[in-house]
Symmetry: C2
Amino acid sequence: MQVAIPLYPRFTALDAVGPYTALAFAPGYTVTFVAAEAGPVTDDRGTLTLTATASYDDLPRPDMIVVPGGVGTFDALKDEALIRWVREAHEHTRWTTSVCSGALVLGAAGLLKGLTATTHWALLDSLKQYGAEPLSERVVTEGKIVTAAGVSAGIDMGLTLLAQASDEVTAQAVQLAIEYDPRPPFDCGSPGKAPEGMVERAINLIV
Amino acid sequence: MQVAIPLYPRFTALDAVGPYTALAFAPGYTVTFVAAEAGPVTDDRGTLTLTATASYDDLPRPDMIVVPGGVGTFDALKDEALIRWVREAHEHTRWTTSVCSGALVLGAAGLLKGLTATTHWALLDSLKQYGAEPLSERVVTEGKIVTAAGVSAGIDMGLTLLAQASDEVTAQAVQLAIEYDPRPPFDCGSPGKAPEGMVERAINLIV
């Protein structure tokens, strides 16, 4: 399985590295970071740089694409090379997926019309402009299009994809290999669980 | 808070990027990837390259260090420049931490003698050679030394550190910002929960 993860300036690192890790640990999966041109791409904190080892032109027909989100998504929506690559790659993928605000990129490529989808909790309403019906769920599967909620949800999506694209035993073995037995120190990971005022604090940390 | 994450060849990307994300989203934290020399460092899957933007000499006294694990740890244990930097940085840190097999690096630097500590489930016994008492826990705190279990446990550790080094409100706001409300598709993330034969499968995926 050839997986491509497009990088654009100010992506969120964990959006990309969560599903990368789940998929890259599985046998038979090759994950490649791609961009308009091969080279370094820096994240939305300004302090992490990942290398894209291939250009969009180098990898036009991956089996799976995983579009990460990040503060840079809003500029990425105007990046014609990215949007065109996503739209054209999607015609041949087995799986077209996103994490966090990466769903807006799928939307801008015209892939979410009439479908349910999810994204970061702060952006759910913005899916409607692309004709999608937002769902407040961790991972939403609509045929070969799979969208995940914010940032860390990409790990859950990666394992879910493995179970569907390979088999449950593979997904379970990867989950155990990466010791994904989460114990968040607080029960505060979604707006419905967070104390009053926390939503504003969280949004201020992101932008 | 100046945080340094040392990178060495064949580290596990999520070990580094999990705590990076938790810490880099918090106000007042600057996270820097360091290595013997500034430049690109490739992970244990061979397909992800992160840039170290500073050398060990550039950043001798960070407030916090986070040592990731990975298949490359066993070579890293013989890397005198890394071990010396960890040992000397530790003299001045407020927090000295590790994820996964990164605990062995702390052990090789002589920092775990007589302490409880944790690491990836497959390596718990190997902590004993450094005089540490292994604990099968998600995050173990011994004064300013904090060790986390395998790979994904670094996210839990990052949030735990934020609560201790800053305050619980900051940790909760970051947890909400990165939508860390995990829903693993299986309950298979530690050996005690995994079906028979899964431990061997998982180990085969790692090495």
